[in-house]
């Protein structure tokens, strides 16, 4: 009964909350106008330049690199290893670790490389999480800034990383084809029973709980990052204003408060 709930109901609840939650919050931001350009100079002036500027931030954390190399190293390693781990899950499970045969390796060599990379990135993730948790505890400024949620967020991912790495320990056997078949059935909306493996179930359930937690937490910083950066690289206004430029917000259209009364009306305009 419990296994039925965990294996065949919870994934859909978690998926729905995750997707709807993220979309709801991001849409909540996007429906609010940007009444003024917030261009941060020197700013790129072409579309390609804007993509390059945001791209280097996404891929390399450029601002952070220029600011704090130590924090940059661990934050960057955390995110890169996380991205690799997620990618590895998709590719590795789909191809049953034979993905590197596509570039000419033998099946057994592919499985060795796959296992090796999985272990390296899994451990990098684990270590960078621990370092960042430690940093939060010992850096006096960061410690004072932190809310309980900031620690819990790290611990949450740490638990996922630990249960995930657990499956790689020597002697722990997880039936990969069974996992693949199970995940496939979930995606096809015909859920099969969850593979009966304690370590797998532990990992799977923490991921589901995390997906439920995600939209309510600051994990949404990934989306805030993009929305924010998009505002900072927006083209600056040009004058005279080109014909046909739409009003940025109703504030621009509203009549200015009467010039000599100066009555503050609040910003609702």
């Amino acid at each position: 009964m419990l296994l039925y709930f965990v294996g065949q109901v919870l994934p859909y609840i978690a998926g729905a909350i995750f997707l709807i939650g993220v979309i709801y919050r991001v849409a909540g931001w996007l429906k609010v106008p940007v009444p003024f350009q917030l261009t941060l100079f020197p700013a790129p002036t072409s579309g390609a330049g804007r993509i390059a500027a945001v791209g280097t931030e996404v891929l390399l954390f450029k601002s952070l690199y220029n600011n704090d190399k130590n924090l940059w190293l661990w934050a960057w390693l955390l995110h890169v290893s996380l991205a690799m781990v997620i990618l590895g899950h998709i590719v590795g499970i789909y191809f049953l670790m034979n993905q590197f045969t596509l570039i000419g390796l033998s099946a057994s060599a592919s499985q060795t490389v796959s296992a090796f990379l999985g272990t390296v990135f899994g451990l990098t993730l684990l270590i960078s999480l621990i370092v960042l948790f430690y940093r939060r505890l010992v850096n006096p400024e960061v410690k004072q800034l932190s809310d309980p949620a900031d620690y819990i967020d790290l611990l949450f991912i740490l638990v996922i990383a630990i249960t995930g790495n657990h499956m790689r320990l020597p002697g722990v056997e997880v039936d990969l084809p069974a996992v693949k078949a199970y995940l496939g059935s979930l995606l096809a909306f015909g859920p099969a029973p969850i593979p009966d493996s304690g370590v797998f179930i532990a990992h799977f359930v923490t991921v589901m709980l995390f997906m439920i937690y995600f939209p309510f937490s600051k994990m949404l910083h990934f989306a805030g990052f993009l929305v924010n950066r998009a505002m900072l690289v927006e083209a600056a206004p040009v004058y005279p204003t080109p014909a046909g430029t739409p009003l940025r917000s109703s504030f621009a259209g509203a009549r200015a408060p009467v010039a000599d009364s100066g009555q503050a009306k609040g910003v609702q305009a």
């Binding site: 700013a43 910083h221 206004p237 005279p240 305009a269």
Partner: protein
């Protein structure tokens, strides 16, 4: 807690067209103000909801570096706002508030807000260093504007606001005084150059409307003289407006409604003289307000808009200079470099005008604020202002000896002499970039 500012009283508020919300209604009004603002500007919500408390901004902020006060860390400053925002506008904040750092409104809330949002210079340096580009200046602008609508505003700001309403400029200079002052400057220039260089006021059919900083009519006369010589040299058909003798727009610093209104004055002045081009004088936030806010505040503008340093730079091939034998450095006003795209122009002008130009470190968009930014020029804040200026003083000290320190912004010009004196550099000569242009320019 003790607020380090003199706050506006009922009569100060009235003179500025504002009113105080009664004490018992303040909480409700504050929450309502936040609600309106968050539905008005996307930046507020996104920036409040994106911070990961990584602390990378702490050492980017001269305000924190100078005062050592935890609440001056950009993220901590924003948190004063964020705690309330979470408590009243997020589902988690309403239910498990303590866990995510939400906090109820209490008797200290507004005191803390006014104290720390008036120790943020709105310099945007944190936005350059935060991995997410979170711009705490945006939170400060929002907080100040919301507080002003409650009648919680420093007397310094309402004083400026009252002058803006009365005369269109911060200093309260009426038209006859403007004309007197222009005649005085014209005489000075005649004596110096033997030429009839005019500073036309409200001249109809002018191509260019030049908007000076009102301080250029008191303490920074050399800036205005440099500008007049420049316009003379390029044979411009220009005028200054008596109705808005002010490049500054303090509205941006305490009330978005006042910002909109002052912006409207600029547009009307341009229309009155038929100007096709508005040239803004040496004022940092005023340039940001003009360049970045004109379209958003009052819709499409029919005129061109350029900064005097950019305009002088564009016209350099028409100018002749005799280099001054000076060693000079440049302070990048925050609102030029980070918020207004005026970065290389002042450098090129200075290099053409003086024998030795040296950079301070860091510079350009990484430069530290003078500590007076966003109108923190109150006398009662002098001690704190000196702490806010500490980083700047350290930067300058490394470059001594200097013959001149170029600080092309009226707020910097008002703040930095105090800072230099405080940190033992009272002999340093300071002024705008146009001052230097005016001294080096060779007129036919």
């Amino acid at each position: 807690m003790k607020i380090p500012l003199h706050m506006a009283k009922e009569k100060d508020l009235q003179a500025a067209g504002l009113r105080a919300v009664p004490e018992e209604e303040k909480q409700q009004a504050l929450v309502k103000g936040i609600d309106q603002y968050r539905q008005w500007a996307r930046s507020l919500m996104v920036m409040l909801e994106t911070c990961t408390k990584c602390g990378a901004c702490a050492n980017a902020c001269h305000s924190y570096l100078g005062t050592g006060d935890f609440n001056n860390i950009p993220a901590a400053r924003a948190d004063l706002f964020r705690k309330l925002y979470k408590r009243y506008f997020t589902w988690t904040g309403k239910t498990i508030g303590r866990y995510i750092g939400a906090e109820d409104y209490d008797a200290e809330t507004l005191a803390k807000w006014v104290t720390y949002f008036y120790q943020c210079n709105e310099c945007r340096r944190c936005a350059v260093y935060c991995p997410f580009g979170i711009d705490t200046a945006e939170i400060t602008i929002a907080a100040r504007s919301i507080m002003t609508a409650l009648g919680v505003v420093p007397r310094f700001m309402t004083g400026v606001a009252a002058n803006m309403i009365k005369t269109g400029n911060n200093m309260g200079i009426p038209k006859p005084a403007t004309i007197d002052c222009c005649e005085f400057m014209e005489d000075e220039m005649k004596e110096e150059t033997g030429l009839d260089i005019k500073i036309p006021v409200d001249k109809p059919d002018s191509d260019i409307l030049y908007i000076p900083s009102s301080a250029d009519f008191f303490s920074n006369v050399d800036t205005m003289i440099g500008v007049a010589k420049f316009f003379h040299a390029i044979g411009a058909n220009w005028t200054i407006p008596s109705t808005v003798l002010e490049a500054a727009n303090f509205g941006l610093l305490f009330s978005m409604d006042a910002m909109k209104e002052q912006n409207q004055r600029m547009r009307e002045a341009a229309k009155m003289v038929g100007a096709k081009l508005v040239v803004q004088g040496e004022c940092g936030h005023g340039w940001r307000a003009a360049k970045m806010y004109t379209e958003g505040a009052n819709g499409p503008a029919p005129f061109g808009l350029v900064h005097i340093l950019d305009y002088a730079y564009q016209n350099m091939d028409k100018l002749k200079f005799e280099k001054l034998p000076w060693r000079v450095t440049l302070h990048d006003p925050c609102n030029y470099a980070r918020a207004g795209d005026i970065i290389e122009q002042p450098r090129e002008l200075l290099k053409a005008c003086v024998s030795e130009f040296v950079e301070m470190t860091p510079n350009r968009e990484r430069n530290f604020c003078c500590g007076g930014g966003s109108g923190i020029l109150m006398d009662e804040m002098m001690d704190i202002r000196m702490q806010l200026g500490k980083k700047k003083a350290e930067q300058v000290k490394e470059l001594l000896p200097l013959d001149f320190f170029a600080t092309p912004c009226s707020i910097c010009k008002a703040q930095l002499p105090h800072v230099m004196k405080f940190y033992g550099m009272e002999d340093l000569k300071m002024g705008g970039v146009m001052d230097v242009v005016g001294k080096a320019i060779v007129l036919a």
